[in-house]
């Protein structure tokens, strides 16, 4: 039994992890690349013509007025892009929602009378399948034990605690939360913050400073980039998940020392994410740890998208690779995704966490985690760890793993270019053109499917993509319906670009099929 489970859910602790580590990033066909760039070119050209005739427009409240003597507030290219490219398809983002971010979501229709300059909410709602929210384990729920616990904490505690941790903002509920999360992660101690983004940006400056080197993956999240910038350390970027490049940079850093002075670096910190949210790739952690040992660097691991969502026990990438979490110096993650809450944590050795408690910007200048949110996290951890006395947690973890593999496999079979790791619950597929992004987003919504589309500047110009976020709350029937919709749209909009043969990896489709016909709830 144990062995079957291991094979199904991609634990790679036994044997060589590389055997079952499969990632793919199919190259863009040249012609498509050229046409996509041309597509943007036309948009920009039309934009320039529009700008020329802008004086004819009646409603000009949304464009920057010229105030005599003042330098324009907005940078010209940025706001040009917003006005002329983003504005035309802006209804594909920021869609207002009138329900919880569960398996289904109620998207409120927006209507515009003035070519998308302003959007008005209508009374119409689309009840659609939610493949856009980061609700990996399906804990964004309106009822059930977690919501109940959160409601209870409102009367036991308060909605929020606005004091900082060191100024009487540290309550029993925070102590409980921090012990719980440390236990869950398998680290000595942990500290929590009410915003995931701020966990990175406010705490990285406590770790490194001038004379230190930060080696950062090129696709790291904006919060890590901002945090790195605020440290004052030298930042060098290595190619995404490319260990040869990382080793080259580590080697030259140590042998050459700091630029100009050639003094040795004080410390070197490698900053990586567990699962990359735009590519769906999983960090090559075993290799990073080898390099860490060889070059005595420290590792900062951001598990925003992997905690709860990866590994046989839902404990993130370390669990996935069967690595002891204590080998990682700083374990960071957020509660926004799998936990259906908000905020972030840092885990590590006792000394490290003491340092954060005393010296973190957040410990002194900002509020602590709101009690209802903390309660939600605590009860979710209890469920995942099976401490509530049910199998619910394990069931959800298995369901998510199965959903992920099923979805990825089927999309590949249909001929979409699917990016990323076979076990990553973030499933992006490439559609290239900005026009197709808008088309698929709008059509899918009408057909009952909510997906996220991402284009330039969040991705490279030629790699506009649709992103599906898998959830344990999706049922087999929902997956099949989604695949049906995507298949139809794929044919209609000509999105099936893949020219590659289907991948083969260890736990192959025989197992998937087996699971599909039998054990699937």
């Amino acid at each position: 039994m144990a062995e079957t489970e291991n094979r199904t859910f991609g634990v790679v602790s036994t044997g060589n992890w590389k055997d079952s580590f499969y990632e793919s990033f199919e190259e863009t066909p040249l012609l498509t690349a050229i046409l996509t760039v041309m597509c943007y070119g036309i948009l920009v050209l039309v934009g320039h013509i529009r700008e020329y005739f802008r004086f004819l427009e009646k409603n000009r409240g949304h464009t920057e007025p010229k105030i005599k003597g003042f330098v324009p507030l907005l940078q010209s290219w940025e706001s040009f892009y917003t006005r002329n490219v983003y504005r035309r398809i802006r209804d594909c983002w920021n869609r207002p929602v009138g329900s919880s971010a569960g398996a289904y979501i109620d998207v409120i229709e927006c209507h515009s009378d003035d070519y998308n300059w302003s959007l008005e909410l209508t009374s119409k709602q689309y009840h659609v399948m939610n493949f856009g929210s980061y609700n990996y384990l399906g804990f964004s729920e309106r009822d059930g034990p977690c919501a109940k616990a959160a409601i209870q904490s409102l009367s036991d505690n308060s909605i929020a605690v606005s004091n900082s941790r060191q100024e009487l903002g540290y309550t029993h509920i925070h102590r409980e939360l921090e012990t719980k999360i440390a236990d869950f992660l398998g680290v000595e101690d942990a500290v929590t913050f009410p915003m995931g983004f701020a966990t990175n940006s406010m705490n990285m400056p406590c770790l490194v400073g001038k004379g230190c080197l930060l080696l950062s993956d090129e696709l790291n999240h904006a919060s890590l980039v901002l945090g790195s910038r605020l440290t004052g350390a030298t930042i060098r970027v290595f190619k995404h998940n490319n260990m040869t490049d990382l080793e080259k940079k580590l080697k030259s850093a140590i042998t050459e020392g700091q630029p100009r002075t050639h003094r040795p670096w004080k410390k070197i910190l490698i900053v990586v994410e567990g699962v990359y949210s735009m590519e769906g790739s999983v960090v090559r952690l075993p290799e990073i740890l080898e390099l860490k040992k060889k070059y005595k660097a420290y590792v900062y691991l951001d598990e925003a998208h992997s905690i709860g969502a990866l590994g046989p026990h839902g404990r993130g990438v370390t669990d996935y690779f069967g690595i002891n979490p204590k080998e990682i110096d700083i374990m960071m993650g957020t509660f926004t995704k799998s936990f259906g809450a908000a905020g972030g944590y840092l885990g590590g050795s006792k000394e490290l966490i003491r340092h954060f408690r005393v010296n973190s910007h957040s410990s002194i200048y900002a509020a602590t985690v709101p009690p209802p949110v903390a309660r939600q996290i605590i009860s979710v951890i209890d469920i995942i760890m099976g401490k509530d006395g049910t199998e619910e947690g394990m069931k959800r973890i298995h369901q998510l793993a199965w959903n992920t593999q099923y979805m990825r496999r089927k999309l590949q079979e249909m001929g979409f270019i699917v990016y990323g790791n076979k076990d990553s619950p973030v499933v992006p597929f490439i559609v290239f053109y900005p026009t197709k992004l808008a088309a698929i987003s709008r059509k899918a919504l009408e057909m009952g499917l909510g997906v996220v589309v991402v284009g330039f500047p969040a991705t490279p110009v030629i790699e506009g993509r649709v992103r599906l976020c898998m959830s344990a709350s999706h049922t087999r029937e929902m997956l099949d319906r989604t695949l049906g919709i995507l298949n139809q749209l794929g044919d209609e909009l000509n999105l099936k670009y893949s020219r590659k043969s289907l991948p083969v990896f260890k736990e192959d489709n025989s197992l998937l099929n087996l699971k599909m016909t039998s054990g699937q709830p």
Partner: protein
Amino acid sequence: METLPATWDMYDLFQSFLRTPTYHLIVEVCLVLLIIKLIFSKSYKPEKTVLSEKEKDELIAEWTPEPLVPDIPEDHPIIKLMEKNIVTGPPGKYINIRNKSCINMATMNFLGMISNKTIEEEAVRCIKKYGVGSCGPRGFYGTMDVHLELESHLAKFMNCEEAIIYSYGFATISSAIPAYSKRGDIIYCDEGVSFAIQKGLAASRSEIRFFKHNDTEDLERLLIEQQQKDKKNPKKAKVTRRFIVIEGLYLNYGDICPLPKIVELKWKYKVRIFMEESFSFGVLGSSGKGVTEYYGIDIDEIDLIAASLENAISSIGGFCVGKKYVIDHQRLSGLGYCFSASQPPLLAAAATQALGILEKDPGLVTQLKENCLRVHEGLNKIEGVQIVGLPFSPVKHIRLVEPSDDRDLDIQTLELVADRSIENGVACTVARYLEKEEKFLPPPSIRIAVNCQLNSTEIDRVVTVLNDSFNQVFSL
């Protein structure tokens, strides 16, 4: 025109060649040789030291990094104090520390919104409708209707075109500043600004010029200086954005910025104003709209107002208000807005509810003002300390009149006072700073936050307890 035959040309050339003196030929040959040599010779390069693989390995083996974090002992005073003063239950008007119910003078719960029943009910309704988290950033299905409601309510309350909300107070201003001010721009900033603003300045990578706290003459001096520089380099001046960054009510000083004068300077020197109103929003002005209402200044004069929802509103989050074109820019460029999960719906709904309460009952603001005056008057009687901050400010700092040269010693004294007053039933805290990171470190103080719900007996008790605590500590 007739062209000469080519043969003649060559012939003539040859003849003249024969006629040239020998020394001339020699010189020319030498020159040609020199040019050839220059073309083919390699340019000078200093010898590069190429390390062998073995040497590299040795260097790598030799290198020992510093420890990741400094050693902080298990019994560090701050850790000990945090564990000692751990809070049970809600931090309302009373706060439960060390199994004792203390009057809460530490939480910025100015309007008593914590534990308000209507707000709580609204939060319960929200959890039942939306769950706890929103599971996504605003762009990707993380915009709930309660967020939009809060935004439009804030815009309406502040009489502005548009409002934007962030999910964390600290992230609000620190994301807003770098959304507009980039490398090469200039920011004039008050020396007394709080830490979140300082981080925003750092993230913007602009040129920062600090002026003395609330000193408009110093600000004008800097502006004139820049005006002269601009005259020398008008091309650069044309693309350099300028901003004045101020706080409405300064957390670190409890005083108000001289806004009318600053607005005057804005138009005179063409600088935009960003104002942080975390501690004046819901506090100043007759209906709590902040410093602009207090001075009677048109809110459109200020380009951007940012504030936290964590103080008077007692939720978690922050917001910015201003003109539509200004605020909308943040929806794609505010890092903490775009790349962070949205505020949990229950917190947004709680904020909307609190805002509604404030709107309906401006008496809260008046009550708060009266309490502030009363607390100020009482505290002023304590000997050996000075009360920093305006009488009607809900944030007050109690500083030692005669500080010693040793900052740590003074903090210890104040720490003792705070400890004693907690023992005696009044919860207050020493204002904490990251001493190495602050640009201009304020002197040590005990920071008092006034709640509008306090009655006169409670205020008298606060004053007595603090007075006794100070006397006890001073007599040690």
